[in-house]
């Protein structure tokens, strides 16, 4: 049953033109970043990322605002949009449970997040290879570690967005709320990183991607993984509670 439900969700996602437009937009951003990096000197902000650090820069620009807003948008379309149009409860009429439905939606949003993230990494390495040839692999160990670590906050982010979508009734409000949360989080991460690192999973979107020159230490890695797992468990509990109580 759940596989059939997942197939329906994926088929729906495949029809979303915005997904393909997102890839085009990301490709344009990556190429334009690469050209700017190539044309800048080493001591300039952009020049620092030329060569082996270019994929790190692309990961940062994806995580900073575009990627998070895009995932928020996908969650809004799949959950808020369907709830508003009355389509959300349709599968329930065919004997599917609320939990199965939410699980299928969460897995499909997570798959989109994974595909988009991998696209950014692969495309940035490809573009970097064309411009800097083998130098793109100079810091490969660094950015592959960042990539693996970013899997944790991204997974928690997906859970958080699903949780948020269950409480918000339409796409625009969901996007607006996401924008505000992103800005507040960015602000706190910049000024109070030391304190919020104990409670805020989104801080690790920045910390694990080396944002603003943040150094990746073993303490940060362990703390980040722990905070994300704990938050993830709380969010799963929150989602299941809300799923049982909400009016479809």
């Amino acid at each position: 049953m759940i596989i059939r439900l997942l197939n329906i969700q994926f088929a729906r996602l495949k029809r979303q033109k915005i997904l393909y437009l997102f890839f085009i937009v990301m490709a344009v951003i990556i190429i334009s970043n690469a050209l700017q990096c190539a044309g800048s000197s080493e001591d300039n902000g952009m020049g620092y990322y030329a060569g082996g650090r270019f994929p790190t820069m692309c990961m940062q620009s994806y995580i900073d605002i575009i990627g998070t807003l895009f995932l928020s948008f996908i969650s809004a379309v799949l959950i808020c949009g369907e709830r508003a149009s009355g389509m959300f409860r349709q599968p329930l009429l065919n004997g599917i449970s609320r939990k199965q439905l939410l699980l299928a939606k969460t897995v499909s949003i997570f798959t989109v997040a994974l595909i988009c993230f991998l696209f950014v990494i692969i495309f940035s390495i490809g573009t970097g290879f064309l411009l800097w040839e083998n130098h793109i692999f100079d810091h490969a160990q660094e950015y592959f570690l960042q990539m693996l670590l970013l899997g944790f906050p991204q997974t928690t982010l997906v859970l958080f967005l699903v949780f948020l979508s269950l409480y918000i009734s339409n796409i625009s409000s969901m996007m607006c709320a996401s924008l505000i949360i992103l800005l507040v989080n960015n602000l706190f991460s910049q000024f109070f990183g030391g304190y919020i690192s104990f409670i805020d999973f989104m801080y690790y979107l920045y910390a694990f991607s080396g944002y603003n020159g943040l150094e990746l230490t073993s303490k940060i890695i362990v703390l980040g993984i722990t905070v994300n797992i704990v938050t993830g468990v709380i969010l799963v509990y929150g989602i299941s509670k809300r799923t049982n109580n909400m009016t479809m």
Binding site: I18, L21, V25, V28, I29, S32, G45, I65, L69, F73, V77, A84, N170, I171, S172, S173, M175, C176, A177, L179, I180, L183, V184, L187, Q190, F191, N212, G213
Partner: protein, 254 residues
């Protein structure tokens, strides 16, 4: 005030997200004013407090709103205000009460444009308050004050044109996500045109003049010649956008 305009204004004012957003903006401005002075922060944020602090602080903070964030916030609110109403079949309700389509859209335009202007002025007010709390009377340097107030007013004009463009898009697409997507495309094109060397495109692109005023002439006086070209171009775009909205609303099949 015309009753439909008042009704729309009340509807906008009931949006809690606006108050949350500006509370967050005040917090951000407060933190920036009080915390960027430390050497670690200066290094981390790559800024020089000697340049961005005191009298220049309100101008420094202006770019945080009128850049990407303000435009995204506006588009989310306007899609809520137009596309969601359309989807809920509320957009044509005034027509059932004898209002004409053009009066309805003009009311929407008045409210949305006033809202975007008020938001810019509100950010100016917030930034001056936090700057005053941090540096006291040092922020009231006459030349800097006049220059900054003028830049905020110019930003208000730019945001109004953007708002008119978003309204036209909302009415044309009648879809929230398409409108949001086109605005993101606009932001990318705007950056591309500003950083490119295509002079012809720059001359006719209204966003270019705003980038010129905000970034190229940051903490400097804007030459009169740039203003004399930029403002009329923005006004022309504003008129075109409002005419598109007016024409389109006449053809919509509710």
């Amino acid at each position: 005030m015309y009753s439909l305009t008042r009704l729309y204004a009340q509807k906008i004012c009931r949006q809690k997200l606006i108050y949350i957003f500006f509370a967050c903006f005040f917090t951000a401005s407060f933190f920036y004013a009080f915390l960027i002075s430390t050497p670690q922060m200066e290094e981390m944020l790559n800024i020089n407090i000697g340049i961005v602090g005191r009298k220049n602080f309100p101008e420094f903070m202006m770019r945080f709103y009128v850049g990407t964030v303000g435009i995204l916030f506006n588009v989310f609110l306007l899609t809520l205000f137009i596309c969601e109403e359309d989807r809920n079949k509320m957009l044509y309700q005034p027509l059932l009460h004898g209002e004409s389509r053009s009066r309805m859209i003009w009311s929407k335009i008045y409210v949305a444009v006033s809202m975007s202007m008020i938001f810019v002025l509100l950010t100016a007010f917030i930034n001056y308050i936090t700057a005053y709390m941090r540096w006291g009377y040092e922020i009231f340097d006459q030349t800097a004050l006049i220059r900054t107030v003028m830049k905020y007013l110019l930003s208000a004009i730019y945001m109004s044109v953007i708002t008119l463009g978003i309204i036209a898009l909302c009415i044309y697409t009648r879809n929230a996500w398409k409108t949001i997507f086109f605005v993101i495309i606009y932001l990318l094109i705007d950056q591309f045109i500003y950083s490119s060397n295509i002079v012809f495109l720059q001359k006719i692109w209204f966003g270019y003049y705003f980038n010129l005023w905000t970034f190229t002439y940051e903490y400097q006086k804007i030459p009169l010649s740039e203003l004399l070209i930029g403002i009329p171009i923005m006004v022309v775009y504003g008129i075109i956008f409002s005419q598109i909205s007016l024409c389109r609303i006449q053809k919509i099949d509710f």
